[in-house]
Symmetry: C3
Subunit: 305 residues, 3 copies
């Protein structure tokens, strides 16, 4: 629901639930789940008094909102993140941060993992991604980028966590993006030339949504296929990921946004490189989706929330 009472604009999120109604803390008006004012302690509720309410669906440890016509909300459109709920507690961690930077900068950061070699050289980067070219595949409902490097040393972080790893490994990383900002990241490292089933695999989710035009919410969750009962390792991975993001990605994205000011990305004429193939494909797809939605909203039958 819109977090604003139609009476005097009080935040309904400050209220409480009573008999299935959300009660406003300022003057006591009550609202049902469709946003309709159904009770007024000072007299009869006004006719037609309501606030916009949207369809939500809770699945995969997340709450999904449909900002269009609630009747058209289709849970089948939610990307499959069932690996998150399938993971045991000792092989699952999740978190959330807010950072400066338009949400598309957060998506770019994941769709071009070549940055790990420069921004995270002591942990995630090891030079492997820089050696190879990204392979981009576009599908109707997603865009996927894969970086595959054979016969390469494991990342510094993996080397530290698993000293027993061979000196040379086969490594691949894949990010599958779903509009507008849901990404499934799979990273695998195995003995060079070894069987793929024996690789150490992390499957993570990265979700970003706009907070403002120049700041974003960033949700993330991690699972893995190795040592799934090791709670200590689990906590260490979660702590390390938080540290990397807070001290390296977050300040970088904030400073990029600072340098962009309020300007639109393309208006500043960035010079795109082949490593930007996936981010550029995603930005183009998003433009199309946004234009299609704008056309829909301006058509006679459109309902604007």
């Amino acid at each position: 629901m819109l977090d604003r009472c139609p009476h005097r604009f009080a935040p309904l999120s400050d209220g409480w639930i009573e008999d299935g109604r959300l009660i406003c803390r300022y003057h006591g008006l009550g609202f049902d789940g469709a946003g309709v004012c159904v009770s007024n302690p000072h007299g009869p509720p006004l006719r037609g008094m309501s606030i916009p309410a949207w369809a939500i669906h809770e699945v995969h440890h997340a709450i999904w909102i449909w900002f269009g016509d609630p009747g058209q909300a289709d849970p089948e459109l939610i990307p499959d993140l069932s690996y998150l709920t399938a993971a045991p507690a000792t092989a699952f961690s999740a978190g959330m941060l807010t950072g400066k930077g338009n949400y598309e900068l957060f998506v770019d950061n994941l769709m071009d993992l070549s940055h790990t070699d420069y921004l995270h050289p002591a942990t995630l980067g090891g030079g492997a991604v820089t050696k190879v070219k990204p392979d981009v595949v576009e599908a109707d409902d997603h865009i996927e980028v894969t970086w595959r490097a054979d016969d390469t040393p494991p990342s510094p972080l993996l080397r530290k966590l698993f000293p027993e790893l061979p000196a040379q490994t086969d490594f691949w990383q894949r990010v599958r993006w779903f509009a507008p900002g849901v990404m499934k990241l799979t990273a695998a490292t195995g003995a060079a030339g070894g069987a793929e089933e024996q690789a150490l695999v992390n499957v993570n989710a990265h979700i970003t949504t706009p907070e403002t035009a120049t700041s974003s919410h960033y949700f993330f969750a991690a699972t893995r296929n190795f040592k799934v009962d090791d709670g200590e390792l689990n906590a260490m991975i979660a702590q390390k990921r938080e540290e990397i993001f807070v001290t390296e990605d977050k300040p970088m994205l904030a400073r990029v946004q600072e340098r962009m000011g309020d300007a639109e990305f393309w208006s500043l004429k960035p010079r795109m490189l082949p490593i930007d193939a996936a981010p550029v494909a995603v930005r183009r797809r998003m433009r199309k989706l946004i234009e299609a939605e704008a056309a829909l909203r301006s058509s006679p039958r459109a309902e604007v929330a």
Copy 2:
């Protein structure tokens, strides 16, 4: 006076008084009470060098400013708050806060006390106001709203301070507003059906002035007719009022303003209820006064400060 030296815009409030002149701390220019520069240590004062100065009048523990032509300032127009100076020190307390929210939101908050039952349920609210309808009276120089509830339990705060109070009481609350933001609030609680002279009565002043378009100064003072020699009770009442305002009203008004952004109140189409009779009457009166002043200022004879 305008707090800005006409020479180089230094804050005159940083200066000091010397021989009846206000001396600027930056270069030593001196100003008389009418804002005229009457001394310059570096040479003769410039002809016609002055700053706007307004008429002020000190009464009722407050300083009142007249922003119009000083010659037309009339102290008789100041609302009578003589009950504040008449109260003994042990039955008087006062304070001042600055909060987010246009001053009209602060006035609304007092002109519609039905909010006390929802925003202050553990102290001032007890459900009494919600049971009744406000009675609004408009006069030339004020607008007054009265809430009267007979045979109702005392408020939780009063019950705590006076456990000896009967279970059922007669209660009334009255707020008299004077333009632009001076309010006298009288609240009385007595035994149900008892003599009105025996009621416990608080007489408070609430004054709000704009700081910016979206923040306000809020001055308040309290007196009472009971236990007027009890300094401890006096301190407890002052502390409680501060706590209620800081933890309940102030954050609510700030969040309402947040939700309004920079939009004008009516442009957001609030749905007014019968409990808003007094706030709406006050807002209408203010519009008329503001329009009248604007007309005056744009007339040929007007002097703009």
Copy 3:
């Protein structure tokens, strides 16, 4: 160089130097001293990929930037501050501050030292400057103002540092301004009627550059001709200067800017006094220089960085 990578707008100042190239920390692009991208670890550098780079010159303990065509940068135009490098370490101190206030307010503050008698009465001011008129001389490459007061008590600070000073002294202060914000301040105090060579002389540099339209960088450095081996005195002078600026000048300039808001200085119709002769001359000179530069930039052959 512009601190913004042409690829994805990362801050190049976060990078590192490697083999004479500045490496971007986000994706590893390398730039030479002319701002040209000369290396790309992911493939060949893009043709014509570069960022604006300006000519710099390091001299007099400072780095000087030429924001015009690098080929026209002429180190001979740098004002002579060689007295700074000539001073022994025990007679030299320097510092830097950032403060609210357009850089022209910082220049005004130095070009009109009559403020010392009012803003710094306990230290630098002693009434001497107020007694006299400023003498302003305009030259092609500078504007200079001199305040000379004979037979006057030394400043309170000097009196405290040198109790042996005679009660009456000859005092002069001179500020030579070079565009846009470089000032050499010489202050001398000697026995009244005594030989000028025996005076205590401080020679300081004050440099201000814009940070934003309403805030400035303020660099300063001090040397002296007396007790040049006294490191303790040197530290005390540095500490005192910092204290005076932070507690007196900086808040005054900030509040002046506050009162000016975003308005242009002259648009607020300041009333200038004879003490403003030098600041006004400097502001006029700056207008001419800015207009000349704007004309140059709008001419067909101009190159805008």
